[in-house]
């Protein structure tokens, strides 16, 4: 599957999620219909009404399942015209997070090297050009 489930679970943060968030995630994934909905959302972007056609249950019941998935952060709903499209947002969010984290790490490294240089290159004297080295 496209996402990774936390393998261990305690009161502390697991895989970046709080205990409450993990609870919601497990609850959301504990139901066969919801897992099936999620699977369909990974393949495409079904509308709530199209999902309701697939399962032998009411529109309202399907909507409730989608809401549980939504609270767990597994899907997002987007209104398009009269349709409500459901899609998995998790990979996108995860990817954005990872990439911004890496960008942050890179620039933390650069900023530290800058501080290092400021400490090592002597202050240029007022009557000298500002090239500190070479």
């Amino acid at each position: 599957m496209g996402w990774r489930l936390p393998l261990t679970y305690n009161q502390m943060v697991v895989g970046g999620l709080t205990g409450k968030e993990v609870d919601r995630l497990f609850h959301a994934l504990a139901d066969t219909t919801r897992r099936d909905i999620l699977h369909r959302c990974i393949q495409g972007e079904p509308s709530v009404s199209r999902l309701a056609d697939v399962y032998p249950m009411s529109f309202a019941a399907v909507q409730k399942h989608v809401a549980v998935l939504e609270r767990a952060g597994l899907v997002t709903k987007e209104r398009r015209g009269r349709e409500q499209l459901v899609r998995t947002d998790r990979d996108a969010v995860g990817r954005a997070r990872r990439i911004l984290d890496e960008l942050e790490a890179a620039w933390r490294g650069r900023v530290d090297r800058m501080a290092d240089l400021l400490a090592q290159i002597p202050q240029p004297e007022k009557n000298k050009p500002s090239m500190g080295h070479d």
């Binding site: 990817r95 990439i99 290092d116």
Partner: protein, 178 residues
């Protein structure tokens, strides 16, 4: 810590990083304005940068080559969009072809850098903006971030070295000789 705050916005796909330096604003500006100083912090120790063109003026260009441990070279460029020495610099950062010309097929990142005087030192604010998630995906595919883990390693080495001014502890071997 030099870095005082980091804010990430996953909706607008932007990152804002604030750092504080114990140096006058002119000195911090020189880190950007002097190509010889720029190349000493731009690349991680495993991928030192050589700055070739360096023209900090609106419409001006900066080009650099980073050389990896196996001698592999990757080029990059900035297109300067605004500059106000010693207070601010805005540029677009992108990849270069083998001949050093901007690669039009690869994505770019907008960088805004601002310096202000603060508590007898200098505050530096950096803001990075990606265009879209497809854009970020593309960046990832082009290997833009492959060299970054080494920067983290160097950061650790620097922190370790800082905590022990005697320099007997901490991995200093990773650093370039100044």
């Amino acid at each position: 810590m030099t870095v005082t705050s980091v804010e990430k916005d996953f909706d607008s796909l932007s990152l804002t990083l604030v750092a504080a330096f114990d140096a006058p604003i002119e000195r911090v500006w020189q880190l950007w304005a002097d190509p010889r100083q720029l190349e000493r912090w731009w690349g991680p120790p495993s991928h030192p940068a050589t700055v070739e063109k360096h023209h900090l003026a609106a419409g001006g260009e900066v080009t650099y080559i980073m050389t990896g441990p196996a001698g592999e070279k990757s080029g990059g460029w900035w297109r300067v969009t605004a500059v106000d020495p010693p207070r601010s610099l805005e540029f677009t950062d992108g990849f270069a072809n083998q001949d050093g010309t901007p690669n039009a097929k690869t994505p770019t990142t907008a960088v805004q850098m601002r310096l202000t005087e603060q508590d007898g030192g200098t505050r530096m604010e950096l803001r990075f903006t990606f265009e879209s998630s497809e854009h970020m995906e593309q960046l990832e595919r082009w290997g833009a971030f492959e060299v970054f883990p080494q920067s983290v390693g160097q950061m650790d080495a620097l922190l370790a070295a800082d905590m022990n001014t005697g320099g007997t502890r901490g991995n200093r071997t990773a650093r370039r000789t100044l």
